[in-house]
């Protein structure tokens, strides 16, 4: 491979990782934009999403990478797996909000954040106790179609990941831009009190943010499985920290920012994996988080913080 091919290959990989991080970052950003809360449970909602997607695919009789589907069955199976993973995660998010965080909404200090940390452990260990700690073979029914672009390889898997991420991000953008509830979410993020006085019900908005964010985490989890062909109980932490970095890099609270940040972090990860070794890419990404927070806390696209008067 020439340097150019290597670069192209890393860009392709980085875009896939970026798609995954973008979807995950959106959940951080939606919740933070509305509640100013770092939702640590999001890390493991993502992991649960990967597990649910895996179980769904296995329920179709798919195990490992041997069974290859094509045409409608392929599309149908993938679609069902995405929908199941997203719905289950969405409802997990809603349950966390409704039963554990709503009682704490008026409590000052770190109580809500500590609760999300606790929820994160609970999710982690429930999966650990039921599914186990070992790395699971994530079913991948995609036919091994590849295209060669110079020396770089583009697989069908990449195309699929990009399409799904684009559809979901497009859908979310449509939702927050054009629907009534989406507008209410933006309004609440910008000025909660004024939004309330327009008749917006804050409970409904917060719950929607949790549902959407968690559902996207579910999709992101499935993408993780398809990309790495594995699912493991401890995948939430590293991916979550990267996605959070992505949200901060783009400007936390900012929906397009989270998407941009995710893609950038994906590209940076794959470049740094090439340049300094995968063992250190966490350190690189984390260094970026610290640098952004210290020198440009508003992120690249600015922050949609509520107006504090």
């Amino acid at each position: 491979m020439t340097a150019g091919d290597l670069f192209l290959q890393q860009a392709i990989n980085g875009l896939s990782l970026g798609a995954m991080y973008s979807l995950l970052a959106l959940g951080f950003t939606l919740v933070y934009g509305i509640m100013e809360l770092i939702n640590f449970s999001h890390f493991n909602v993502f992991m649960v999403g990967a597990m649910i997607a895996m179980l769904t695919l296995q329920a179709f009789g798919l195990h490992g990478q041997e069974t290859i589907l094509t045409g409608l069955p392929l599309i149908g199976v993938l679609l069902v797996a995405f929908i199941v993973a997203m719905t289950v995660c969405g409802f997990i998010g809603v349950a966390i909000e409704r039963f554990l965080l709503r009682p704490l909404r008026s409590v000052k200090g770190p109580a809500a954040m500590i609760t999300t940390i606790g929820v994160s452990y609970i999710l982690f260990n429930v999966v650990l106790l039921t599914i186990g700690t070992d790395s699971k073979n994530f079913p991948n029914p995609l036919p091994p179609i590849t295209w060669e672009i110079g020396g770089a390889v583009l697989r069908l898997r990449e195309i699929l990941i990009w399409v799904i991420a684009l559809v979901l991000m497009g859908g979310l953008t449509y939702f927050v831009t054009y629907t009534k509830l989406g507008k209410a979410m933006r309004a609440t993020a910008q000025d909660p009190e004024a939004a309330r006085m327009m008749g917006v019900e804050v409970d409904q908005v917060v719950m929607s943010a949790f549902f959407l964010g968690s559902a996207l985490a579910g999709a992101s989890g499935m993408i993780f499985g398809l990309y790495y062909n594995l699912a493991k109980v401890d995948i939430g932490f590293a991916s979550g920290l990267r996605a959070f970095t992505a949200a901060v890099l783009g400007g936390i609270g900012n929906v397009p920012g989270a998407m941009l940040g995710g893609v950038l972090i994906g590209l940076i990860e794959s470049a740094s994996g090439q340049l300094v070794g995968t063992a250190w890419s966490d350190v690189v990404i984390f260094g970026i988080l610290v640098l952004v927070l210290v020198f440009r806390p508003a992120g690249l696209l600015g922050r949609l913080a509520p107006n504090k008067s």
């Binding site: 770092i38 606790g118 929820v119 609970i122 260990n125 106790l129 901060v248 210290v294």
Partner: protein, 661 residues
């Protein structure tokens, strides 16, 4: 100490005695325990419990005292551990040269030959490593803390989480230093006067117990000192803390360093006991367990976190294995297969998560809350009649030395927020010993004026000099040190601290006790603390019996008017050269307003310079020599109170233009 405790209500005294007694009994119990209970495994897990307790005590300084949520605390534990591990094991062995000879002479290294060239084998003494491990971890605490301390609390949480991860990644990947995932081997155990600790648990148990005792002692000493008060002030309200003279950066760094030092020492102890160090010993599960210990016991509560640590350790080493066996028996009896095989130890982390969630939902203050409930006041103590004629007991306060000319000179100060001009070339002077009042309609820039003077808001241009010192550009705590103390329009006390502590925090800049003095408490510190408490009581006593009977009440439980009084007392405690009062009588009824107006007047009579924002014009008339009127950031009038009230421009500002309809 007697002089201060004697004046306390008797309840406090017995409480102190009781807790002292309990402490001594607890340590005697734990000291004789190994003689009664000789099971080596149990003692070993107790020794582990002790190291978790010391870690929890350190985390409690960062999270509980200073309110900085640190999720990567295990990093400092690892630093202490690897420090000791590397310098006592056979991992790093440079080639011997004579330059090492002096170190060999003092016993830090020895010459080693494994067939090949002579090598250096580090033989750091445990007893030397313990304090130096603390110092090294503290250094890393400051190193990590420095770039991120200005971040909001929730960002700090995630950044520390990342730091914790990075240290572990380093431990795993810097194989030449740490031997990577396999871990360090051959770490030497401690020796004491030739006695080798070896593999028996008892000596480690005693070292652990002493370490806990020492750190509990340090925690209490810090908590009850100027240092601890500064941390708690930061935790409660950063803005108010800096306005009362506390350097946020210094004290947050100190908290990080101190917490890290506890962890570093524990790391040394832990590795000496295990005689190995692997990256897994310091993973995020350890940080999370420590957080659970602190949350369970009670954030900020010294005994709380010790109890939390011991409880969780008991749960992990005794209750869960035991309950698994019970469940197995039940399973056999009932024939339920699941119960026969369940291993409750695997549920540990799950239980941690449940504990965190349940504590946050139902008992946020922890099992042993840091803030004690104080008995309510008797009816007699509560009765306070309006005091006329100003403050009482002013002889203890003394006069302010008169200065020359103008104390505060503000020139052409401009403050812009985005496009909005909040202050537009405002100039005013407050003569030494004078009282100047600032009035104006809502949004006219009055509070911004106070904020720019006290360094909370930056000015775009202009100058503010106080007794010749330029205040613009100074951090808020430096402004206080220059002699400018303030109150806030919407009262910013330290809500979970009591009245005495709030007033003592006002004295922060006048006191000198540092962290070492606070722990060692030499006579000079005892004297300083006693006189600080006495001064705070004298200040409180100025308000007749409004505050004195409430000194150990938490301020969040006080009435609105009393909270205002505490805030004024806190500002006065710094013995300012100028007092800035932002609507001191807001929310007070007419009688209370009059009382306070006369009290302020009596301060003025003592020579204190005062700048005042006030809406009640008769208060202004009573007090002020000069009135400044602001409107939309412009100074529109200045003069004697009676003249200003008749000024057409002022009437227009307040009432609006005449309607044109």
């Amino acid at each position: 100490m007697n002089t201060t405790t004697a004046a306390h209500p008797s309840a406090t005294l017995t409480h102190k005695q009781r807790s002292m007694l309990l402490t001594i009994l607890a340590f005697i119990f734990f000291a004789v325990l190994p003689k009664i209970w000789t099971d080596d495994g149990d003692l070993d897990s107790l020794a582990n419990a002790m190291s978790y307790a010391t870690l929890a005590l350190g985390l409690n300084i960062v999270v509980g005292f200073a309110g900085l949520l640190d999720l990567g605390y295990a990093a400092f534990f690892a630093i202490g551990a690897y420090y000791y591990g590397i310098f006592t094991s056979f991992q790093v062995m440079p080639v011997w040269s004579d330059a090492w000879a002096p170190l060999a002479y003092v016993g830090l290294v020895e010459k080693l030959n494994q067939g090949g060239p002579d090598l250096v084998h580090f033989t750091l003494s445990f007893w030397l490593a313990l304090p130096t491990g603390g110092v090294i971890a503290a250094f890393f605490g400051m190193l990590f803390g420095f770039p991120v301390l200005r971040l909001r609390g929730d960002y700090l949480a995630i950044v520390t989480l990342g730091f914790g991860e990075i240290v572990q990644i380093c431990a795993r990947n810097m194989e030449s230093l740490t031997n990577g995932a396999a871990g360090l081997n051959g770490v030497q155990g401690p020796k004491l006067f030739g006695y080798r600790f070896g593999v028996h648990s008892e000596p480690y148990y005693y070292v652990g117990l002493l370490l806990v005792a020492f750190l509990v002692f340090v925690s209490f000493r810090l908590r009850g000192s100027r240092i601890g008060r500064a941390w708690m002030a930061i935790r409660e309200d950063e803005t108010a803390a800096s306005a009362m003279g506390i350097s946020l950066v210094n004290y947050k760094l100190l908290a990080f360093a101190m917490g890290a030092a506890f962890a570093g020492m524990t790391g040394v102890f832990f590795v000496a006991k295990l005689q190995t160090a692997t990256p897994e010993m310091f993973n995020s599960a350890v940080s999370s367990m420590l957080l659970v210990m602190v949350v369970l016991g009670g954030m900020g509560s010294v005994w709380g976190v010790v109890v939390g640590a011991v409880l969780l350790q008991l749960m992990q080493t005794w209750f869960l294995p035991q309950s698994s066996e019970w469940l197995h028996s039940i399973g056999k009896l009932t024939g339920i297969g699941f119960l026969q095989t369940v291993d409750m130890v695997q549920w540990t982390q799950l239980i941690f998560g449940v504990i965190l969630v349940l504590m946050m939902l139902f008992r946020r203050q922890g099992l042993i809350p840091a803030v004690r409930k104080v008995a309510p006041l008797t009816m007699q103590q509560q009765t306070a009649s309006v005091v006329r004629g100003g403050f009482v007991g002013l002889d203890k306060i003394g006069r302010w030395a008169p200065g020359k000319g103008d104390a505060l000179v503000i020139k052409d100060v401009v403050v812009k927020f985005g496009g909005l001009v909040a202050l537009n070339k405002v100039s005013l002077t407050v003569p030494d010993g004078g009282v100047v009042a600032v009035i104006g309609p809502n949004g006219s820039g009055k509070s911004t004026l106070f904020n720019v003077i006290t360094g909370l808001v930056e000015a775009d241009s202009g100058s503010i000099s106080f007794n010749g010192v330029e205040l613009l550009g100074l951090a808020p705590h430096k402004v206080l040190e220059a002699g400018v103390a303030r109150t806030f329009q919407n009262i910013r006390l330290f809500p979970n601290l009591n009245v005495l502590e709030n007033i003592l925090i006002g004295e922060h800049a006048r006191l000198k006790t540092g962290p070492f003095g606070a722990v060692i408490r030499p006579p000079s510190v005892v004297r300083e603390e006693n006189s600080a408490v006495q001064w705070a009581k004298d200040i409180a006593a100025m308000f007749s019996n409004r505050l004195t009977p409430r000194l150990d009440q938490t301020v969040s439980g006080l009435s609105y008017a009393n909270r205002r009084r505490v805030e004024i007392a806190r500002a006065l405690a710094s013995r300012p050269k100028i007092l800035l009062l932002d609507e001191p009588t807001a929310g007070m009824n007419p009688a209370e307003s009059l009382e306070l107006a006369e009290q302020i007047k009596s301060l003025h009579d003592l020579g204190l310079t005062i700048l005042l924002i006030e809406h009640k014009l008769d208060v202004v008339t009573r007090l002020a020599d000069n009135v400044i009127v602001l409107d939309h950031g412009d100074k529109i009038a200045e003069g004697l109170p009676d003249d200003v009230r008749k000024d057409e421009e002022v009437l227009r500002a307040y009432l609006g233009r005449s309607g044109g309809h």
